[in-house]
């Protein structure tokens, strides 16, 4: 186990898109363990994506227990994650280990359904809401080379609650 160094903006490597994971082997599981340890060592300690440690693979780890206690999914290792559905929108302030000392408002879906594989290659589907859903969406953005800076809205932006439902994929 090791804490890996985190890339920070404006490092151009953060803007590169990541590739899907094809091999579910011991090397992958060792990396996932290191990435998890790196996440827990961070200031927020609730989410991380592989490209933040300069590995261009579609791997996201989220564990919002430090924030929400047991009222969440606990440790989620999301490999090749895809959003199946989302609902609602909320403005929330975010910060990121890769963008130290800056926070800003971002609009995210309030509830999401995400499909991913676990470190053994098994399919998993999670339904997340609120803070946990925000964390998953934030980390998934890293896989496409996006930072929350790319989604900033005015610090004054407020949204009256809206109903919205979209489905992607079959």
């Amino acid at each position: 186990m090791a804490v890996l160094p985190i890339l920070t903006y404006p490092d151009p490597r953060l803007a590169r898109p990541s590739e899907p994971v094809a091999e579910f082997d011991d090397e992958l599981r060792t990396f996932v363990a290191d990435l998890t340890e790196t996440m827990y060592a961070g200031p927020g300690g609730v989410g991380i994506a592989a490209p933040q440690v300069d590995r261009l693979q579609r791997i996201v780890i989220v564990d919002v227990r430090p924030k929400l206690g047991e009222d969440c999914h606990g440790l989620m290792v999301l490999i090749n994650p895809e959003l199946l559905a989302w609902e609602g929108m909320a403005v929330g302030r975010e910060g990121c280990m890769s963008v130290p000392d800056f926070t800003g408002n971002v609009i995210r879906a309030e509830r999401i359904q995400v499909q991913a594989q676990d470190p053994d290659g098994r399919d998993r589907v999670y339904e997340c809401e609120g803070f946990e859903a925000r964390a998953v969406q934030h980390e998934m953005d890293h896989l496409d080379g996006l930072l929350f800076l790319d989604r900033l809205v005015s610090r004054k932006t407020d949204l009256f609650r809206r109903k919205n439902y979209q489905k992607r994929k079959a």
């Binding site: 609730v46 924030k67 926070t103 803070f131 610090r155 004054k156």
Partner: protein, 173 residues
């Protein structure tokens, strides 16, 4: 390096921000926190600037833009106090049929509980015969969200407005 708070207002038209900031840049000033927006038919700028030359040089640098765009400028030297540590943890949204007293009523109630307003934006809009007033306040509530809710609850009936109170949570990811 010294700091000043620069206020600029003028009838709104394209080019005000460019003229002011180009003049500041040419005079070796750096812009810090800034709020620039149209209020009524006027464009307003309030910004913290760092300047390395003397105060008079900043005023002189702005002068051509001021004359050309018919701007009014006010420059206050400020001591470089560090930014306040308290962060906005509550957002209050107020809206209703416009009438005098909404802002005074809401902010008086907030002041009584030590709520520090960090940002207040309001807009009068809608049909001119039946205008609505919308106000969004962000600030630091020392005793948390629930106290803000309780304090503002009676104002809904007194002022005939909708008031909602939300937590502003920073997700450090």
């Amino acid at each position: 390096m010294s700091q000043a708070l620069l206020t600029v207002i003028g009838e709104d038209r394209p080019g005000i921000v460019a003229a002011v900031t180009q003049a500041l840049y040419a005079a070796d000033c750096a812009i810090g926190d800034a709020s620039m927006m149209r209020l009524g038919g006027y464009f307003t700028i309030m910004q913290v600037i760092d300047y390395s030359r003397d105060f008079g040089a900043v005023e002189a640098a702005l002068d051509p833009a001021v004359k050309r765009l018919n701007l009014r400028v006010h420059l206050d030297p400020i001591s470089s106090v560090p930014a306040q540590e308290d962060v906005a943890n509550v957002r209050v949204t107020v809206y209703g049929a416009d009438h005098p007293g909404i802002v005074a009523g809401v902010t008086e109630a907030l002041a009584k509980i030590g709520f520090n307003i960090i940002d207040l934006e309001s807009e009068k809009s809608g049909n001119p015969e039946r205008p609505i007033y919308v106000m969004i306040i962000q600030g630091s509530a020392p005793q948390g969200l629930e106290q803000v809710r309780l304090t503002l609850e009676p104002l809904k009936a007194e002022q005939g407005v909708e008031i909602s109170v939300h937590a502003i949570d920073t997700a450090l990811l």
